[in-house]
Amino acid sequence: MEDTLLIDAAERYIKGEMSPEEMTYFEEIRKNNAELDQSVVEHIFFLNELEKFSEGKKFRHQLHETAAKLSDEGLISKSKIEGKAKLVYFWNRYKRTVAVAASIAGLVSILSASIISSLSSNKESNIQPLVKQINEQDAKYRKLEKQIGQIKSATIETDAAAAKQRVESKFQATGFLIDVTNNYIVTNAHVLKEARNKLIIENNKGEQFLTQSVYVNTENDLAILKVIDADFKKLPPLPFSIKKSNADLGEQVFMLGFPKEEIVYGEGYISAQNGYKMDTIYCQLNTSANEGNSGSPVINKQGELVGVISSKESNAQGVVFAIKTSHIFRAIEEVKKQPGNNLIKVNSKPTLKGNDRVSQIKKLQDYVFMIKGN
């Protein structure tokens, strides 16, 4: 059966437009031809998806209309101001309240992680201490105010730090190379949420390279990027290997990441085999991690990668969650299936074992990048 005929038949079949004889015939050939049956099943699934989409679209349309109507009536109050005006609105609204700090932190993290990093550059911080600093330390408060002022006068994405960049970044996180032949980078899926246009990596020297994402899995929070910039120089094989089994409880680990504009080293240990609420995708570390650390590699003494930093518990100090490496292998398998990306391969030549920490870091740092984008 030709494709168009098949589509036509499948459509009439689910709409119940077939005559009984035709239906018997159609079911008969499906039974005898597994391949054909498979494409019918697939097509029916697709048509159902299309139908669901159509219903959803209509409902959303109706919903928007109703909301617009009620908004005119004044039942729904929208601030109706977009862009930078919204910022001013937020700012004025929260200026005097204590709750400010939290919303500024949120606001700031949306706008630019670099403000946060400049605020927290000399103090260990997470969201909570940041709140305290703003209230207690007038100087820092003023600094923030100044920066908000800059944002007010400039466009949303722009701030002092980002203005210098060739790509004005809306966020900052960490990623690291896993394939030096074809240049694939691992980071967190949540990092990419705000990357709508450009996605770049930046090395410790401030050089930026264009990348594109080839894999994004929000379930295990992993993403794989491919460097597509011709200027990117190939690096020697990875100095670390990726551990196949789970990290051991109590194992000492360290990580390299970009919570600020330069690479930052951190230490800790594996404190639990599972993540938040026993989530088996993650293991738990005891260490400190800040905004921007998302996607940082977690390495053990032997120079093996044992995890990727993803999140932390904001209610507890020093509880950080890292994605287990088994998920990296799975992600690589998925990427391999894609045409054009089938060559992805972890090519490592572990040389970290037995080295002291300082030389381990020296070897490693070229493989860790800032992830930026807009």
């Binding site: 697939e42 697709f46 209509k58 919903l63 729904i76 939290a102 949120g106 993290s109 969201i127 899995n217």
Partner: protein, 192 residues
């Protein structure tokens, strides 16, 4: 766990109306419950815009729920909507922090976690389809929308798109559909 709603006659009528995409039902739910959600969000670091967004998403969850086969609610519609919106708002707050998941300090009333997961999956599929439709370009997009979304007849479509006859329009529609399907599955199979 599935949350279920009590068989309050008015709630059931509203949900049935919602499933049929009736304007009045949507409006009634807005009028009855919008302020409750607005209040909840305002006291939890939100602003009116957030409330408008969250309420809309909550309505979509409710719509999907009303459409589902095993649809049943054994708490009030009000409680259900409140729980869904509260959960959605918490998720949003967490996302805005970007780093980290906070523990649930605001308690939930009805167990809606599973419904929200279903909704997120649906939303993902919705986005994939929307992207695929964007990518196929014109006239394919309009042609397919006319047939599958607006449910227009082939004859009418042929006239609107100036095809010589309905058969020509149909052939064109097939071609477009095959392309859309390819684009859809290319994305769909790559998402978990």
């Amino acid at each position: 766990m599935h949350a279920q709603v009590n068989r309050s006659a008015s709630d059931i009528a509203l949900l049935e109306g919602l499933a049929r995409n009736e304007k009045d039902a949507i409006e009634k739910i807005y009028r009855d419950h919008y302020h409750m959600i607005l209040h909840m969000i305002m006291i939890n670091n939100g602003n009116p815009d957030d409330a408008a967004d969250v309420f809309q998403e909550g309505m979509i969850v409710l719509f999907e729920k009303s459409k589902s086969k095993d649809f049943e609610l054994n708490c009030q519609l009000k409680t259900y909507l409140y729980s869904v919106c509260r959960r959605l708002w918490l998720k949003k707050l967490n996302q805005q922090q970007r780093f980290g998941r906070q523990t649930d300090d605001l308690e939930q009333i009805a167990p809606v976690e599973e419904d929200i997961e279903v909704h997120e999956k649906r939303q993902q599929e919705f986005n994939i389809m929307e992207n695929a439709l964007q990518k196929i370009g014109e006239p394919c997009k309009s042609l397919l929308e006319a047939y599958y979304l607006q449910k227009k007849h082939m004859q009418q479509i042929a006239e609107e798109f100036s095809y010589t006859n309905a058969d020509n329009a149909k052939t064109q529609k097939y071609k477009c559909l095959v392309r859309l399907k390819k684009l859809f599955f290319a994305q769909y199979k790559n998402t978990p």
